[in-house]
């Protein structure tokens, strides 16, 4: 393994010193294809992931989360518990937020899935991503993809969202670092809610 692909350099201001964090996941995407011979129990499903149609051969036991992470190579959605109890795997399924660990990939032929990687428009962050950044809506970052996708799903579910409703309606997303105050503020900001909103 070459030094360049392994060293993860975190950069301020986007300058190129060493290899950026993204390199790791580029590696992830290229390394996955074809590592696993498909047993004959595999089934073909077609998913539209972040706007791109993907045909996958999946073991019927494979969760949507594992399919996204290991086969599509999108590791933004995280496996925090694999029990539906932490929210780190939240994705949008046909526009609604769901836990991708609690559903099987084989059940979603033809469905549209949006992960955190699909929220930005080109280089422009989604307003929710920007608000999480600006308001420090995370610490370790592990639950963050799920928090952001969940918050985007929340705004779609409730266009008339009030600030006071955010805590209850985000309670499916645990943040063990407990950046909850900032997450709340970030969602309120992205939703254009004032202090009393």
């Amino acid at each position: 393994m070459s030094e360049g692909t392994n060293r993860r350099t975190v950069l301020a201001g986007g300058l190129t010193v060493g290899a950026g964090l993204a390199v790791g996941s580029t590696l992830a995407r290229t390394a996955t294809a074809g590592t696993t011979p498909a047993p004959n129990t595999r089934r073909s499903v077609s998913l539209v992931v972040n706007g791109t149609r993907r045909r996958l051969e999946v073991d019927p036991r494979t969760s949507l989360l594992d399919a996204l992470r290991d086969q599509v190579g999108l590791t933004g959605a995280k496996k925090g518990c694999d029990q539906g109890a932490c929210g780190a795997c939240t994705v949008l399924l046909n526009g609604r937020r769901v836990l991708s660990c609690l559903t099987l990939a084989v059940m979603h032929d033809g469905d549209e899935v949006t992960t955190v990687e699909g929220l930005a428009s080109g280089d422009r962050r989604h307003p929710m991503q920007q608000a999480f950044m600006d308001l420090d809506g995370f610490q370790c970052g592990f639950c963050t993809s799920g928090q952001i996708v969940s918050a985007v799903g929340l705004l779609a579910e409730k266009p008339d969202l009030r600030r006071a409703e955010i805590p209850e309606l985000m309670s499916g997303n645990l943040c063990r670092c407990a950046a909850y105050c900032n997450i709340r503020d970030a969602i309120a900001t992205a939703a254009g809610l004032g202090e009393d909103g």
Partner: protein, 326 residues
């Protein structure tokens, strides 16, 4: 997880035919409970019948005012008319799980979810529900969450559903279908007490599929609420909960339903509490008497004796809310 054959039928007839043909089949709808049971090896179906393609996801108001909720309607259902006619149902749904889970979990699946006893969910413990005759480790274990009503020497687990408690309070029925035809089962008779057969969780035969839940016509149901006590503010199962429906006419309670969650192996109706209310005004003393009656005949253990007080509290809270609304 053991591997299985996966099928996604397009019609109810096709689905029930699959169930009839494959004795080892399980139905998957939202999957929010079943997937974890598969992963932990607690359920090991040979076939998985995915019913998500069957439709069955509409709310239809019947002539006469009853309403039929398709079995595949999600628990996130946001129907203002339902909210007006049956506030207890909408409140119970919103008190359950998390938004992500409610977006997937279905009415049928919610009713049929397995108990949340950790001794059931961890394969290393003995459990009569999982393996008939194996014994019940919970009996001598940590019983803080366990039932105080309807238990047997074979099982003390609680049914975890909030929605089912509300449906019981609303005298709901489930409509089921099999290759033999259709039938209606009152929610009150859907779940079984453990007795000597705790592995028989509900009255559905293994080839039957719930197609809808039916709620009787109002106005009974319109004056109702749901109160849930739990270990944290949200996203936790009930330690105790109360669904209360009252009909007050002429200043006195004519009819009521007081049902409890988190305290029995099935949604638990307290006829004693209802008796305490009947023909009386909904005042402090009557509320107190009903709350007290709701705890009658509780069989507690040292770890769960507190549930008696919690039942008292949630019933009082629910009835107090209803009094303040009227």
């Amino acid at each position: 997880m053991r591997t299985f054959d996966y099928t996604s039928p397009r019609t109810v007839d096709e689905a029930v035919r699959l169930l009839a043909d494959h004795p080892g089949a399980d139905v998957i709808a939202g999957g929010t409970d079943l997937v974890t049971l598969l992963r932990d090896g607690i359920r090991t179906p040979t076939h998985l019948v995915d019913v998500n393609g069957l439709g069955l996801d509409e709310v239809s108001w019947q002539p006469g005012g009853a309403v039929r909720i398709g079995a595949l309607c999600r628990n996130a259902i946001d129907d203002p008319a339902l909210g007006r006619a049956y506030p207890v149902l909408v409140k119970a749904l919103r008190a359950g799980a998390s938004p992500q889970i409610r977006n997937r979990a279905t009415f049928g699946g919610n009713l049929l979810q397995s108990v949340r006893c950790p001794y059931f969910r961890l394969p290393e413990f003995a459990c009569n529900r999982r393996t008939p005759g194996a014994g019940c480790a919970a009996l001598h274990g940590d019983s803080r969450h366990h039932a105080i009503f309807g238990t047997s020497e074979n099982c003390i687990a609680v049914h975890p559903s909030d929605c089912a408690v509300a449906l019981l309070a609303l005298d709901a029925h489930v409509l089921v279908q099999s290759t033999r035809g259709t039938r209606r089962i009152p929610v009150a008779e859907l779940h079984r007490l453990p007795g000597r057969t705790p592995h028989e969780e509900h009255a559905l035969r293994r080839d039957e599929l719930i197609t809808a839940v039916e709620l009787p016509a109002g106005p009974f149901g319109a004056h109702s609420t749901y109160v849930k006590a739990r270990d944290r503010a949200s996203f936790a199962f009930a330690l105790a909960s109360a669904a209360a429906v009252v009909a007050v006419r002429g200043g006195v309670v004519r009819r009521s339903r007081i049902c409890l969650g988190g305290v029995a192996p099935k949604p638990w109706r307290s006829t004693a509490a209802e008796e305490a209310l009947r023909g009386r005004p909904l005042d402090d003393a009557v509320i107190e008497a009903a709350a007290d009656a709701a705890t009658r005949d509780a069989q507690t253990r040292p770890d769960n004796a507190y549930k008696v007080d919690l039942v008292h509290g949630v019933v009082r809270q629910a009835l107090t809310e209803l009094r303040e609304q009227s």
